[in-house]
Symmetry: C2
Subunit: 609 residues, 2 copies
């Protein structure tokens, strides 16, 4: 059964307790958002997720979107839910107040995104894509375009899309063929076909604003000849309301593995009027701006799916009676014990739990950097935030979506045969979650972005924004760890010293791998490519280990100091310990794989496959 | 696109070249099956798979099975395909000639199963379940029942099912409620409901023979009070043809994640006449007989899906043009290079390839043991075969289905966004393959079977059937490896010495883990439970490493001796090297996880989840 209750306590832990000395805090511009206000917003968001979006998740999967006579109908209830969502101001949560946004911190915004994705991933794409599109418009469009489009898009009255992919090119956008012809009035006419356009057409908003990559007549070949255009579905009239159709039509909607309530469209542009966003031929820059924003959000989709899968699995593991506990009967009045007593079921639940808490902690860290980049008055802090975001964006996108998908699969496994039946709701998490490893750049592309762009950029400066705090933390706590064992009362016997040692060891493997890749990759880029996916995983595991070690330290001190929330902090310690026991060891496998190099990977001739 | 060509060369390698000195060979009773005859059978099987079954795989997924007025209709073409299959003698391939079977070796039978599963997993269940049911009848039923049912079932005129699960019990069969009442004529009347019955009802055969677990009136509680009954859908008339209905009805068919062309039924038995198979209250023994046969076959399903996914991914990786090779343009006449040039795509393809070749090599080994158990005249060999099969059955079931599912997911990843669209055919492999990790005992249950039953059984004798040849092989080749490096001509730079060293190290970790589990598990069974899944994976990785090291040795010698098939053996060496470089390192992670014990896994109170 799909159950979901927003993990508010853990979200508050990440926002208010963790990462407090990461150097990204104390931002004057955000001081109005007091902890009480933040918590109130999160509670309201939880209500929307639980009460409005969750009930439409399975019905949306069953009904799907339908294309009839060129019009896409979203599943029953989606329009009403979107209206509630929009009217509640949720579309505008993190947007600039200049355009009608509420300017809330990214920490709050990303936690809200997590809730929306947990409760209804398909729904999340409609406001989500709009947010990506507004980012590009804010950053690159003319004032005139901003005035005309941003208020309507920020409010959610109009939605947005990102039209990149064409049938013959997705990853390699240099090959795209959609063309834009200059008009006398400074506008352009666009013609071409785009595929895989999320929210490309639907019945939720009165207008849809497409951001379209296309070539100008004089464009250089490849990615250096791509420009970005704003193309509305309906051309706005002088009063700003939607006017005549603009030659954008839906050729088809895709029949997908999942995410069925999200309309994935094939769009044809036929002499559609558009306006340039940014500089001619420099569209990739604006595209990457919106893409990077989206990539972090797609990572959060993975976390959202992982959390929903975890909760649904826990529900079943407590409810389903099969077998007896190996340590003695636990439910003597029933015919069997709930399956949560079995170690292998625990293994699956704890794995999901560790993944989710780890990803959420990392989300909090990256969100604080996003806020610091935007609002900090200290240029040094802003730079460090920018470096950190650049480095972590591919890690968050790929790691979170991989782990979220694994969690979805573990949830099915906890349900056993019942999990394979649609009625259980959990196989939907697998089908929905699968796409997050692919879109906005496959996870393989994320890994290449990390080793090929993010590591060498700025002479390796990006890396320092991450390595520096980790090594500082290890140094600061090595001595301390020696003498302050975790409190005895904790049944899990979590020990801080071995955690720091394990973190140090994994961090050492990461440093060594970085050097290896830099050295080998310089001579032979295929060596960097061969190491990329394992390197990204290794970095993610270390980042998560760092977050868990910090969490354990906070929990230890809280418990030692006498807290009323003994249960919460003990569970935090146990989950951290589980992470170090059972998840971090993956770092060794990744390290060995990186070390082995490209030889056996690249040896076979293509014909031999 | 779903493409499939049976990997006949590798199958011949496994049957005729690998494992030749495993002590399971030279079986007189199978001497009529010469290599030429075996190869001819495999070639015919390939034709059936490629030409008859593959074309129905996607249409079957789209159409699914339909229940109308109590009758289940399989998708278009299935009936005709089944008739061809049956008339070709494929249902009877490995069955005893006494009942009309062809008595072919299991090596041939399992390779044929792989082909059927690659081309159409849904289809495979109809003959597959029948085969499981005949195993139980052959082993436990009265001569009268055998005479009446086996010829029709072996020929495939009638099909069979295994009716175990009820809504409230799957893993914990002790709770089942279906009851059998004794009749004066020695038969029984059964009443109850069963769920998840594969091929429970369909239009492919004129009768369906259900093997049903139920309780007699005087049955002790739990699993010690379960008996097995044969319950035909239609009661045979005196002339052996199907007569009147027997009170078996379909309440529903399940809407599943995949495997949509296989009818998964909820069956009601209403005073249905049945006959006891085996001894009263000893039904679990017969059930396990058929279950164990099925478990190896389900493992082969995982391999089948993995191979189909691999081939479909290779097809796309050679066809799809995106980006340029990092080592220089490879396809200068085209707008981009095929994506098979990219290291991360290679990583995925080589991973699938190594999984498939490794699983196929293990399948060959286990199949040889199955043949030896059945036909060897040497009681010592038979015993060793029985021990080995007992040990490897849970490993084959869980490991192969895990890896096959991973391959299916990698295939989707190779396709990128196109893989998420139903049209590509590859997301079907994910949806179809997911169930194999669950049915016939979840993979967690397999792991518990391994550590809880198979390790301690016969004072650990099962283990010797595996450990002994592996340690002998290491000893025999350590010195040799030192002085005979792989031939220089092999680009992959595969070196035999490091392979043997890596095998020795992983085998050491397995031995140490075995001792740890035996020791800790004796005091606390939850410790064994907490280690089970990682231990199974570790054992599987070592078994596969052993197979790859042997394969590499054979390939090395063939290449050194001058073979016409240089390409095949070089590729074998490269794949072996890739396995040692990139897959076997998982053993370290599994070892560390086992070592960490149950503490952090079991510490949280159920209420804290």
């Amino acid at each position: 059964m799909q159950v979901y209750e927003a993990p508010l306590r853990d979200m508050r832990f990440v926002i208010h307790e963790l990462h407090q000395d990461d150097g990204f805090g104390n931002i004057e511009a955000l001081s109005e958002f007091t902890p009480d206000l933040v918590d109130a917003v999160l509670e309201e968001a939880a209500k929307v997720a639980q009460e409005v979006l969750l009930p439409l998740n399975r019905s949306g999967d069953i009904e799907g979107c339908v294309l009839e006579n060129g019009v896409v109908r979203t599943p029953g209830g989606f329009k009403e839910a979107y209206d509630l969502f929009r009217e509640g101001g949720w579309c505008a949560l993190a947007s600039d107040p200049e355009w009608g946004g509420q300017g809330l911190p990214e920490t709050v915004n990303k936690m809200t995104e997590e809730m929306i994705c947990s409760s209804n991933l398909s729904f999340s794409l409609y406001p989500g894509l709009t947010h990506g599109a507004t980012t590009a418009i804010e950053g690159y469009a003319s004032d005139e375009l901003k005035q005309a489009y941003l208020p309507k898009m920020v409010s959610g009255d109009w939605s947005g899309t990102m039209c990149l992919t064409e049938p013959h090119c997705g990853t390699d956008l240099g090959m795209l063929r959609t063309r834009a012809v200059t008009q006398d009035d400074g506008s352009y006419k666009l013609t071409g076909s785009k595929i895989f356009i999320s929210a490309g057409e639907h019945d939720l908003t009165e207008n849809i604003i497409h951001l379209v990559l296309a070539r100008l007549p004089d464009a250089p070949e490849g990615v250096k000849g791509i420009s970005l255009f704003l193309v509305p579905k309906y051309l706005p009239k002088d009063d700003g309301t939607p006017g005549p159709s603009n030659g954008v039509s839906v050729a088809a909607i895709e029949h997908k593995m999942g995410l069925k309530a999200s309309a994935t469209c094939q769009l044809n542009f036929d002499d559609s009027i558009g306006w340039l966003v940014g500089t001619p031929h420099k569209g990739m820059e604006a595209m990457f701006k919106m893409m990077n924003t989206e990539r972090v959000s797609v990572g959060v989709q993975g976390l959202g799916i992982g959390e929903a899968a975890y909760q649904s699995a826990v529900y079943y593991a407590k409810d389903r009676l099969q077998g007896r506990s190996l340590s003695g009967v636990k439910n003597s009045s029933g015919p069997a014990d709930p399956i949560i007593v079995h170690p292998d079921v625990r293994r699956m639940l704890m794995t999901m739990r560790a993944y989710n808490e780890g990803c959420r902690a990392m989300t909090g860290w990256v969100s604080r950097a996003l806020d610091a980049e935007r609002y900090s008055t200290d240029p040094e802090v802003r730079q460090r935030a920018t470096d950190f975001i650049a480095l972590m964006t591919p890690v968050v996108k790929a790691l979170f979506t991989d782990l979220g998908y694994e969690s979805a699969n573990l949830a099915v496994q906890v349900y056993g045969g019942h999990g394979y039946i649609a009625e259980s709701g959990v196989e939907q998490y697998v089908r929905d979650g699968r796409i997050a490893m692919i879109y906005e750049g496959t996870n393989g592309i994320q890994a290449l972005d990390l080793v090929g762009r993010k590591l060498p950029a700025n002479m390796g400066r990006n890396l320092r924004s991450f390595f520096h705090p980790v090594s500082q933390f290890i140094e600061a706590n090595k001595a301390d760890a020696q003498f302050k064992p975790m409190i005895e009362a904790n049944k899990s016997d979590a020990q801080f010293k071995p955690m720091i040692e394990a973190l140090e060891k994994a961090f050492g493997a990461l440093q060594l791998s970085t050097a290896t890749i830099a050295q080998k990759g310089m001579k032979d880029p295929e060596e960097a490519g061969a190491a990329a996916t394992d390197y990204l995983r290794l970095m993610g595991l270390v980042a998560m280990a760092y977050c868990f070690a910090q969490s354990a330290l906070i929990a230890r001190d809280k418990l030692a100091g006498g807290t009323e929330e003994v249960g919460f902090y003990k569970a935090k310690l146990t989950t951290a310990q589980f992470y170090f026991d059972r998840i971090l060891p993956q770092a060794t496998t990744a390290f060995l794989a990186i070390k082995s190099g490209k030889a056996s990977m690249m040896a076979l001739d293509a014909a031999a496959f």
